[in-house]
């Protein structure tokens, strides 16, 4: 191996090493910090400490853990199921039914991707206030249900769905909704799995909108609670990191359980 090739390889490894470090360090820091006291963390200690159990104890004392988990799980699962149901139906419809208006409407849907959430926040808040939904979980879920990105994702994936399957199902006597339910959904299960992972993570980690509409402690989700711990007058970072670890676990679990399907879904699910 000549020198220039060797230095090229070294450079590649150095770059990849840096990228890996930047990706992994926050997790490492999170885990290390969960075992240390706030003073150690601020002091920059990067080794495991002995305050883990104390931090866990404090977290469980200060926070109603079952309640915030229940709130987060309820919001994330329901919003995910609703989003996928609505958006996959829309994606299927956009791809399967040909009409002159179709592409115009689709362009409008895609256009909503360009509108930042900041611009929608106040009108959405006013809508929720007028309908009396402030401080309810429905207020968090409703704006996410028709997701332009997920509609786009399903429409693109539906292009790979063989139209002859739909024809065969029609000859077999299925109505359109039955074709969707009994043929399309099972055939596209990898697409659904990938969409589930994406939407679940987005909903579980959703912070800004819940912060605006959820005002009582009984309705708050885990992200809001952890954030409020961090913004206390004297934040106990060890306890905050326990909360962060707990908040991360469900998304990690969902991702690892559905990893294979997720990758397949992102590559195109029809085999």
């Amino acid at each position: 191996m000549n020198l220039s090739r060797l230095s090229g390889t070294a450079l590649q490894y150095a770059f990849l090493g840096l990228a890996a470090f930047l990706s992994i360090f926050p997790f490492f820091w999170m885990v290390i910090s969960a075992t240390n006291t706030s003073i150690d963390i601020i002091g920059g200690k990067t080794t495991f400490g002995d305050a883990f159990l104390a931090n866990v104890g404090k977290f469980f004392t200060e926070v109603d853990v079952p309640l915030i988990f229940w709130n987060s799980a309820k919001v994330a699962v329901l919003a995910t199921v609703l989003t996928i149901a609505v958006s996959s139906l829309a994606g299927y419809g956009f791809e399967m039914f040909k009409s002159k208006a179709r592409d115009r409407i689709y362009s409008l849907v895609l256009l909503t991707l360009m509108v930042p959430f900041g611009a929608l926040m106040i009108p959405l808040f006013m809508m929720m206030a007028k309908t009396g939904l402030i401080n309810t979980h429905i207020a968090i879920m409703l704006p996410t249900v028709a997701s332009a990105f997920i509609i786009f994702y399903f429409r693109q994936s539906t292009k790979a769905f063989p139209t002859e399957l739909r024809d065969a199902a029609k000859v077999d006597g299925l109505k359109e909704w039955q074709i969707f339910l009994y043929i399309y959904v099972p055939v596209m299960r990898s697409t659904y799995a990938a969409a589930f992972v994406i939407v679940f993570m987005t909903n579980w980690n959703n912070y800004l909108w819940p912060l605006i509409v959820l005002q009582s402690n009984e309705t708050k989700t885990i992200t809001l609670v952890v954030s409020s711990l961090a913004s206390a007058y004297y934040p106990d970072y060890g306890v905050v990191m326990i909360g962060t670890i707990l908040a991360t676990l469900p998304t990690l679990f969902v991702f690892f359980v559905m990893q294979r399907q997720f990758v397949q879904g992102m590559l195109g699910s029809v085999k």
Partner: protein, 362 residues
């Protein structure tokens, strides 16, 4: 089993006419093949019969009942698709029984029908497999099995063999022919492969640009084509067309001379008297109808370009002139050199004559 009748069937997509008025009568138990080049409307016509495309105008009747607006599942048809269209998440058994289960048939009856079809198609060991674990030929058999279990009045096949390799295609062709013989059902089969059409059909419907060019038994189309399109489409390798000119005409007889070799002349009795000396015509000669030099009505000399030796016979690609290239089937040709010349005989009896518009005049 049922007959199928199409009366002035038309299909329009926007401003585009795809099917331009098809009249066709398909008898009970008949095996009819729609054949034609890509885009001729044969698959659209089949899909209209299946109910997968709306009929713009005209009338479709299956078993005497008008079916224009009837749901596909209630037309008494079953369809086999080009890509097989097996449900990938179901086993072979589930695929075959799905339509019956959906129609609310009793479990025992479904089981009996599926097992009967599996026996006919020798699918026994594959019944619990998913389609992805099957070969192309096996998938095709499952697709046919799925159609059989429905016990349809009419089977519709949409280019079912075009995804298979050459050897398997021949095998499946024979299987489909045997199946038709056993079931004696009405079959409408779409293909662009004229060999499939010739070997399977009781009746061939040749389509071009949404119009039926000719309907007839395979050998009738081969022996008696109405125009250059049918003559060129039926027969493999395709018929050669040589430019010729009417030299003499009178009392139902004409003499024609090849444009490229004016000394080569042939005499014909005509179906029509609408030709005059000087008119341009096409002389149609199938590759297999050239004769050894000196044994026909006239001889012509060719410059050999390429020869394909198949063992039992050879196909010689030769130039009649700089513009005209023909294929000659030659039983004993051994030369392969580009500089070879070949003299072949033409027989008026085995040749066809077409007018300038391509219509057969003899």
């Amino acid at each position: 089993m049922a007959d199928v009748r199409l009366t002035d069937i038309r299909k329009r997509f926007g401003a585009l006419d795809i099917i331009k008025g098809v009249d066709l009568s398909i008898g009970t138990g008949e095996f009819v093949v729609f054949v034609g080049p890509s885009g001729c409307g044969k698959s659209t016509l089949l899909r209209m019969i299946a109910g997968l495309e709306d009929i713009t105008s005209g009338e479709l009747a299956i078993g005497g009942a008008v079916m224009n607006d009837v749901d596909p599942s209630k037309r008494g048809i079953a369809m086999v698709f080009q890509s097989y269209a097996l449900y990938p998440h179901m086993t072979v058994r589930e695929n075959m029984g799905f339509a019956l289960k959906f129609a609310g048939m009793a479990k025992e009856e479904i089981e009996r029908r599926v097992n009967d079809a599996a026996r006919i198609l020798e699918l026994g060991p594959l019944m619990e497999r998913k389609p992805k674990a099957l070969s192309g030929g096996q998938r095709q058999r499952v697709a046919i099995g799925r159609a059989i279990v429905r016990n349809p009045d009419v089977f519709l096949f949409d280019e079912p063999l075009s995804n298979l390799d050459a050897e398997l295609r021949v095998h499946m062709r024979v299987e489909i022919a045997k199946l038709h013989k056993a079931l004696k059902s009405t079959v409408i089969y779409v293909t662009h492969d004229q060999v499939e059409a010739m070997t399977l059909a009781d009746k061939i419907v040749v389509l071009r640009a949404g119009v039926v060019e000719q309907v007839g038994a395979p050998l009738d189309l081969y022996d008696d084509p109405d125009n250059t399109f049918v003559a060129g489409f039926i027969g493999s390798p395709r018929m050669n067309f040589l430019k010729a000119r009417i030299v003499t005409a009178g009392e139902g007889r004409v003499t024609v001379a090849l444009e490229s070799q004016p000394d080569v002349t042939l005499g014909f009795s005509l179906r029509t008297s609408a030709v005059r000396p000087g008119d341009t015509v096409s002389l149609g000669v199938r590759p297999e109808h050239f004769r050894p030099a000196g044994t026909g009505d006239a001889d012509m000399v060719l410059d050999v370009d390429v020869a394909e030796h198949l063992g039992n016979t050879s196909y010689v690609y030769a130039n009649v002139s700089a513009e005209e290239r023909i294929i000659v089937e030659h039983g004993s040709f051994r030369g392969a050199d580009g500089s070879d010349r070949l003299t072949v005989g033409l027989s008026a009896e085995k040749s066809f004559l077409f007018d300038e518009a391509g219509k057969r005049i003899r």
